[in-house]
């Protein structure tokens, strides 16, 4: 009984320390390690040679390459944990590693590793001795003293209040659904208009999921990408913006010949401003290398500013817009000194609108969330993400399936939110039902 059976979950975590370093390692362990790893690698090798470093291009959810690194496959039992292990060696940027881990953790059958879990598995499978395991055990114990309950304390007050208020609304909905299912003679139709009620909870959960992400941004810094046709005046804006900043740290040509990066600090928020200069035509006709670079920059962006010159056609605009998916996008008319354009407009030459643009970008990045979410932010983010997808499925089910399916999905969402604050949702549910409904034949 000393082997992890093949039924055990595959786990993933960043194996290197939290600080940004030259190289960051993401480690997967478990039966799905290789399959999951392949899902974040562009054109992966079908069956990589064991214990051999293979070049790999890591991709984001849209398939865009975000980094180049190495992939090493250690088949069981000759690995750290004794299970199938895959290590992805990428550049040590925390946000990049976080992106890879959260992508991997959404593969069905894969989840984030618990504290000390790799070492525990290594010990269980006889890969390390007791002394090492117990050293880890003490570490884990010290960690658990603060405990999962402390995860709640790690959320800042404002955010945890928001989680609790969404949880209350979700619990009320779940209560009515389960009352209707469990007590049809006493609480029939208690659920009311389910789709409307789910929508009511969905909005704040969506906001919450976004804000935890933004909270993490405040810690690791944000990337703002300037994007648009070459004649839009991006460089002028970039220079005005970068030059204006007293806190200017660095402005030098980026790693690519034709992109500029500047490290800025806006009211305590670290911002990397990226100019994707050099795009001479509409995006459909760009040279291949240019597309890749721009897409890489866009993939890593936390916010994108699309700068369009006056007189651009709607069609043209739509093409540029279609390049940016799943990112907060701000459209700005440039050269406001030359033409009267509707909406947000700037003129880098005269300085008109630059300050308000900066303000808008900042709002876009932080959504008004001030403080960062610490250590377990990735875990919180993952749980909130699960809550969100469960609610989205609940909404679909409310139109196309049975009440029990809707209730099940709402229950999964409620449990996921409960994980964030460390609450026992099952007891709460029964308490709430008996509190609200007079049950009893």
């Amino acid at each position: 009984m000393n082997k992890e059976s093949p039924s055990s979950a595959t786990i993933v975590a960043v194996a290197t320390g939290p600080a940004a370093g030259g190289v960051g390692i993401v480690r997967l362990s478990g039966p799905l390690a290789l399959r999951a790893a392949k899902s974040v690698i562009e054109k992966p090798v079908d069956s990589p040679a064991p214990r051999t470093a293979v070049m790999a291009a890591f991709t984001d959810a849209n398939g865009a390459v975000v980094d180049y690194g190495l992939c090493i496959y250690f088949p069981a039992p000759h690995s750290y944990t004794g299970e199938d292990v895959v290590e992805l060696h990428a550049h040590g940027a925390p946000r990049l590693l976080a992106l890879l881990v959260s992508r991997l953790a959404t593969v069905p059958g894969v989840r984030l590793a618990e504290a000390g879990e790799f070492t525990r598995r290594a010990y269980m499978n006889g890969r390390i001795d007791l002394a090492r395991a117990e050293a880890v055990a003490d570490l884990v114990a010290a960690d658990s003293l603060l405990g999962l309950q402390a995860a709640a304390a790690q959320l800042n007050g404002a955010l945890s209040r928001r989680v609790e208020s969404v949880r209350a609304a979700l619990l009320a909905l779940h209560t009515d659904l389960e009352a209707a299912l469990n007590f049809p003679e006493e609480a029939d139709d208690a659920e009311g208009d389910v789709a409307t009620r789910i929508n009511g909870v969905l909005a704040p959960v969506r906001e919450l999921a976004a804000s935890v992400q933004q909270g993490a941004l405040a810690r690791r810094g944000a990337k703002v990408v300037l994007f648009g046709p070459v004649n839009a005046g991006k460089s002028t804006l970039f220079n005005a913006w970068a030059g204006d900043e007293r806190a200017l740290v660095d402005a030098e040509p980026g790693t690519t010949r034709d992109a500029l990066e500047a490290q800025l600090e806006w009211d305590g928020l670290k911002v990397t401003l990226v100019d994707t200069a050099g795009l001479r035509d509409s995006p459909g006709r760009l040279e291949q290398r240019g597309i890749e670079r721009t897409q890489a920059a866009l993939a890593q962006a936390d916010a994108v500013v699309l700068l369009v010159p006056p007189g651009s056609h709607d069609e043209e605009l739509a093409r540029w817009r279609s390049q940016v998916t799943g990112k907060p996008l701000l459209e700005v008319r440039s050269k406001a000194d030359l033409a009267n354009a509707p909406g947000l407009a700037v003129s880098a030459l005269t300085g008109v609108g630059v300050e308000s643009l900066k303000q808008r970008v900042r709002e876009l990045l932080t959504l008004g969330v001030a403080a960062a979410v610490t250590v377990s932010s990735l875990r919180h983010q993952e749980a909130l993400g699960r809550a969100l997808t469960a609610l989205e499925r609940a909404l679909t089910a409310s139109r196309s399936s049975t009440l029990e399916v809707v209730a099940g999905e709402v229950g999964l969402a409620s449990a996921a939110l409960g994980e964030v604050v460390g609450a026992d949702v099952s007891t709460e549910l029964l308490d709430a039902i008996f509190e609200k409904f007079c049950i009893g034949k």
Binding site: M1, A141, E185
Partner: protein, 604 residues
């Protein structure tokens, strides 16, 4: 003094005891069942119905394993309904109103005609143990029974005390004595006992009720049997009855409030905690003061019976107050009361003292089942009785025990919640307690469990084959639909299996049970996969590891004192159970696993 011998001794013949006795005897063992009064075995002490949400699921599971309750309900049933018909196949539940007297007679007949089972009238006053093992029992009259296995199913009868207003009477049910000696014996063996209360309403004379002023609630027009083994020929056996609805009103509530001061509960006479889902009517009026009316379900106790059970009106107020509030209700203006309602307080044994087999941790060969374990309801009791009876029999035979997984039965969720988390009020089953609800349907109970019933020797070969064939025809039909390209169409929410008949020329003729299951399996596959993925996210390959009974929790390195204390108290017997304890973090589980692995190595 004479001494009797048997393989398995059953103490008490309520719903748990009957199932335990029948199961052990059907598994080929010599069984003695001791009861205070054999004429009162299998009596429905409270409402005359079997089933309902989650309870119907338990009975279907019991039936699939080879238990008796569903078959007895079919024979005595007078009003069959399916609840939650439109809310989904997993919460759909059967409820059968029975002819109260007929139910007990049917079950007693079964007890009488089962080979290997003998009934003994008497009171078990003490259990006899030797070196931590059960070896027999002593009756109050001095007789002794020698046995290696005892299943105690004493229900509400341990130190039972009934309350009607300020009047108190010793007894577990109106007209029946209490069991007074056994509590002391259990305490001497080191068991902790707690106190719960429950209640029941008055019984009304049918001839004194004006049903024309109430809402009629007929049963299903085409009732389906509860048990899959009940022959359709001659079903239903009993003439149907109709139920009726009426409501309390402001006058009722005023009378209840005025008489609260006479309630033993509000006077602090009752110390035991009662169930929140089955409050007395005076409790409802206090806790839900803004509700202008409460529903009363008038349930006739049989086609020939002149008694009606008013569900929803459980009370322990004095008789005069009961009569006054009853007569304020529409339809009951001239009601005559046959017996007044009462509350009963009784000893229960906190179920955290049990293993998942329902064997006690303290005494080998001793099993507890039913209301004694702090549960409520006939169905919860019966399914525990069945499992305890099966496990006692398996133990005597030297065979491995039957412990069902949470993913395969609501009955397993019930037992696991009991022995892992314990109870702080009488425990009733709800489908929402199961994280695998979509999979645990009444409709697939046999597919899930009949294999176990066959394996332990409770279900005969022909019945098991019938289940296997049905399972095969479900799978074959799903495969055929895939072949003819109709599977994805059936997955669509608005498309039913029946509606596809027109474009499905080669469709075979199949029983409704099969096509229902085909439709559900196809439509739910995605949702079930989703729910299972979530449920297994934190599943651990080591969940089945057993924890030695003599583990010293303080020696598990790194565990906090709080967690140690909790583990000490609930004595989980597997890693999976330990994991489900409140406050058990993944880190604590890691520490436990490392400790277990280490101690195993040291022992080798």
């Amino acid at each position: 003094m004479s001494s009797l011998r048997c393989d398995v001794l059953i103490v008490g013949l309520g719903h748990a005891g009957c199932e335990a006795a029948l199961a052990a005897a059907r598994m080929g063992l010599n069984v003695i069942a001791v009861t205070l009064n054999r004429q009162r075995s299998a009596v429905m002490s409270c409402n005359p119905a079997i089933g309902g949400t989650a309870k119907g699921h338990l009975v279907k599971e019991l039936d699939a394993l080879g238990g008796q309750m569903a078959r007895a309900a079919d024979e005595a049933g007078t009003h069959f309904i399916t609840l939650n018909l439109s809310k989904g196949p997993a919460v759909r539940a059967t409820r059968v109103l029975c002819d109260r007297d007929a139910y007990a007679v049917v079950m007693q007949k079964q007890l009488d005609c089962t080979p290997g089972l003998s009934l003994v009238e008497g009171e078990v006053a003490a259990l006899v143990t030797e070196g931590g093992r059960a070896v027999g029992a002593r009756l109050a009259d001095g007789r002794e029974i020698v046995t290696p296995a005892v299943v105690v199913t004493t229900g509400t009868f341990l130190q039972a005390l009934m309350h009607v207003g300020a009047q108190k009477e010793v007894g577990g049910r109106l007209g029946d004595a209490a069991a007074t000696g056994l509590s002391g014996s259990l305490r001497e063996l080191g068991f902790v006992l707690g106190r719960f209360k429950t209640g029941t309403p008055a019984r009304l004379r049918k001839s004194s009720i004006d049903f024309s002023r109430c809402q009629k609630q007929p049963g299903d027009a085409h009732p389906r049997p509860f048990s899959r083994w009940t022959p359709l020929k001659g079903f239903p056996q009993k003439a149907p009855v109709d139920c009726y609805l009426t409501f309390t009103n402001e006058a009722t509530h005023r009378i209840l409030r005025d008489n609260l001061k006479f309630s033993p509960l509000y006077q602090g006479e009752i110390v035991g905690r009662g169930p929140r889902y089955c409050p007395s009517v005076e409790d409802k009026v206090v806790r839900f003061a803004d509700k202008v009316r409460h529903t009363v379900f008038l349930e006739p106790e049989g086609p020939q019976s002149d008694l009606v059970y008013p569900a929803g009106l459980s009370t322990s107020l004095p008789a005069a107050a009961q009569l006054a509030f009853l007569r304020s209700i529409v339809g009951l203006e001239d009601v005559q009361v046959e017996r007044f309602g009462y509350a009963v307080e009784y000893d229960y044994s906190p179920p955290t003292q049990l293993k998942p087999t329902l064997e006690t941790q303290r005494v080998e060969g001793l099993y507890f089942a039913g209301q004694l374990n702090g549960t409520s309801g006939y169905e919860e009791a019966a399914v525990q009785g069945l499992l305890a009876g099966i496990n006692a029999a398996l133990k005597v035979k030297g065979a491995p025990p039957l412990v069902l997984g949470r993913h395969e039965a609501h009955a397993a969720v019930l037992v696991d919640d009991l022995v892992t988390k314990g109870v702080d009020e009488p425990f009733r089953m709800f489908t929402s307690r199961s994280e695998h609800r979509l999979k645990l349907r009444e409709g697939n109970a046999a597919f899930r469990l009949s294999g176990h019933g066959f394996r332990v020797g409770l279900l005969d070969g022909p019945r098991w084959n019938q289940v296997v064939r049905e399972r095969e025809s479900v799978s074959a039909e799903v495969a055929r639909l895939a072949n003819v390209g109709l599977l994805s169409k059936l997955k669509r929410p608005e498309v039913t299996y029946a509606a596809l008949a027109g474009e499905d020329a080669e469709r075979p003729v199949l029983p409704v049970a099969v096509t229902d299951e085909v439709e559900t399996e196809v439509k739910y596959a995605g949702y079930i996969a989703q729910a299972e993925e979530m449920a297994s996210r934190h599943a651990d390959a080591h969940e089945h590891w057993s924890i030695p009974h003599d583990i010293v929790w303080s020696s598990v390195r790194g565990l906090s004192a709080e967690v140690q204390e909790r583990l000490q108290k609930s004595k989980p017997s597997t890693v999976a159970q330990a994991k489900r304890l409140p406050g058990m973090t993944p880190a604590a589980v890691s520490l436990l696993l490392i400790h277990l692995k280490r101690t195993v190595i040291e022992k080798v």
